[in-house]
Structures are given as C-alpha cells and as structure tokens.
Symmetry: C2
Subunit: 201 residues, 2 copies
Amino acid sequence: MKNTLSTDLNLLKSNFSKYVELTDAAWETISSAFLSRDIARREFVLKKGEICRMEGFVIEGCFKVSTTDQEGKESILYFAAEDWWLMEIDSFLNATPSELYIQALEDSRVLFISKSDKEELYTKAPEIERLFRIMAQTAVAAWQRRVVRNLNWSAEKRYSHFLDTYPNIAKRVTNKDIASYLGITQEFVSKLRKKRMKEGK
Amino acid sequence: MKNTLSTDLNLLKSNFSKYVELTDAAWETISSAFLSRDIARREFVLKKGEICRMEGFVIEGCFKVSTTDQEGKESILYFAAEDWWLMEIDSFLNATPSELYIQALEDSRVLFISKSDKEELYTKAPEIERLFRIMAQTAVAAWQRRVVRNLNWSAEKRYSHFLDTYPNIAKRVTNKDIASYLGITQEFVSKLRKKRMKEGK
DNA sequence: CGTTGGCTTGAGAGGGCTCAAGGCCAGTGG
DNA sequence: CCACTGGCCTTGAGCCCTCTCAAGCCAACG
C-alpha cells in the first residue's frame, strides 16, 4: 500500500500497451476514469446475484473469481493478482445478476472504472473500443485453451501445468483453492503434491 | 444450397442485430466484404499449423472446431451450424499458426470475410469495432460457463445438458464427436445413452 | 463385396472421490 | 496471554465413475 496513484496508473498503461498503442490524449481520457481503492483480505468486490457495475485492474494483492453450484461446491474460474483484470463480463455487459463471486485473498489495491464511465469512454475514444475488443478476443483464445486442458488432461498434468505456469500464484493461494481451480478435491491435490515431492520436486 | 446471396446476408444481419443496431450505411459497408462459398462434407476450412486469414459465418451445414494432442487424441471445442461463427481467434488475431482444425461435417455454405477486409471495416465503421467487441465479450462469458460445467459436472450431467441445450446439433453429429466435445470416450457415451433409454428417454 | 468407420457390449483396471480422523496454525474472545 | 475455535492440510480405506482393451455388428462406400 505504498505506491502513488501515478505509479499505479503506469502499471495500467503498460497493461494496455500489450494490446494497442494509445495516443497521449486517449490515455489521458482513459486514466482519468479510474479510481483507486483498497480492498481488505476476505472482502467481496462482487457477490453472486448482485449486478456488476465496476471493472477493476489489480495493482497489488490477489483475488479469486469463483462460482458455486446448488450443493455449495465452489469452482474457481481464475486468480487475479497484479496486472490482471477483475470482471464479471456477463453481468457487467448485460446488467444481469452475477453468477460469480470476486473476493480478495490478500489486502489489495485495485483501479476501478464504473460501467457508465466505461460506456462514455467507448464513445469518446474509438481506441478504447478497439482495446477492449482485442482484450476480449485474446481472452476467448485463453479460455479455449483452458477448456482443452480440462477436456483431456489428467489432474496430475493440470496440477503440474498450473504450478509451472503460475508459480507466483501457486505460492500465495491455499491448496483448497488450487483444487477448486483445477476441478479436483483438496485431498487429491495433497496426494499429488506428495507424489511430486517424492519424484524430486 | 438453394438460397440466394441476399437471403444469406439476411441471416448474417439478424445475427449482428443480437449484439448491436447497425445503420443501413454500416450494414452496406459490412455486407459487401463477405463472400459466399460452398464447402463439401469432410473438407477442412483450416488445419492446425496454418495461419487463419478468414472468418466465416455458417449459413447452412455444420462444422466442428477441434484440436489434437501429441497422441492424436481429438478435443472438439464447438460445433458450428447455421447462425454460428467459424473462427480461430488466436491465429486470426496474431497471425500465428493455428492450434485448431475447422472441418465441415456436412455439405455447407459459409459467408467468409478476409482478415484484411475486416481490418479495413474496423477503420471504416466504428460500429464494427463495437459489434465484435460485444461478440467477443459475450463469447468470454459463454466459455467461462463451459469451464465451470467441465470442472464440476459428471459426464452424465454434461451429456444430458448437451442434448437438452443443442438438440439440433446432437441429432446431426456422431457419438464419437459428442464424446470429444464432452471430454469422455465414445464407449462411455454409448453407455450413457443406453442408460437414458432405460430411464425413459 | 471387401473395407472402413461408427456404435455397442463386456471385463478388468485405475484415477480420483467420499468419508473420517488427526495435526497444525491463525484468529478471536475472555 | 491463554484457551478455544475453525479452517487447512494430510493420510488411509474403500468405492465408484470412467477408461482401456477387445470383440462383434452394421451401414456406407469405393
């Protein structure tokens, strides 16, 4: 919780620059629409059933984006640490009740933009529309790859892939949450972990 | 293979209208960039490793969009019948080799747009950027729901959900392809089907 | 009419689950 | 500051869902 707003915005700017190049004018317009907010560990940014009216970009900390079924079993869609986006796209886009929970796993800081401000940005600067179009298309490709992994990879392979791909996340979240992300039980994660140890980490 | 180009375009127009309202001028610009093409059963529109330079909208027929792992095991990402889009978003967006195959399961007709024409549309009409932004965001939400189903639903539940949700597709494709879509074996689909019969359809 | 591919069925195996118990640590209230 | 509580992690036993392998049947096709 030590950085200034301007350093926070730099992180956001460099995230955008992965997708499009923004003019200074466009960046001014965009950046002024974001507000910084601190979120305490365990606090919910969004709960199932609520209408999502904000999108957030994580500056510091870590979140989980999850849902639950009728029996209360949790599935984690993704973890969002620094440089990730927090959004419930469906609820935000269509103003329908959210299917998802968004909860802080650590004390965190997030740059938020409201739905109305974002709509305004779309009309003010066509680059924004382009930016979010490309971000969404990139996300679709990523979700497709996730589906393929879940379709034909074993739990062990998914677990290894997770550790290899997100070592930085794996260190910070509980095994139980990793299990919910992978679609397996906490107990089985524990056994997979033990097996990895034996095989020389 | 009996409709005229203009009826084909009407189907495309009404697909777009699910996402945004287009002015007549924008629609003129867009529609003129699409070309109709017939595809024979079993023909590949795209193969793994190729660069994807076209996006297609299915007017008639049915396709599967799939990938294979090292051992040659196939995973089907989705089926695309009438009123669906055919795209390898990652390869199209970034001009990288495709991870996916796109193959016709029936004799089909598709409206194609080339990458360069689409890029041109983005600059010509801002509504197009908006249209594809919303389409992509809607797709992200749909892929997320798919992931949740694969994370904590049993094969039986996924199979029933598929039959209930896409009865029109289920009738037209092989059990083997349904299995690849659901991430289970062909043999097990056969057993699930038998079980459903016994339980009174 | 032989071949190929899809569908079915069965036997056996295994990956991953459920349930239950115990240890450990962090947070909380007295 | 300590006892208590609840949540997380581990481990084991037993089980079930789903897979693999193998065989046989049938329709489509060259």
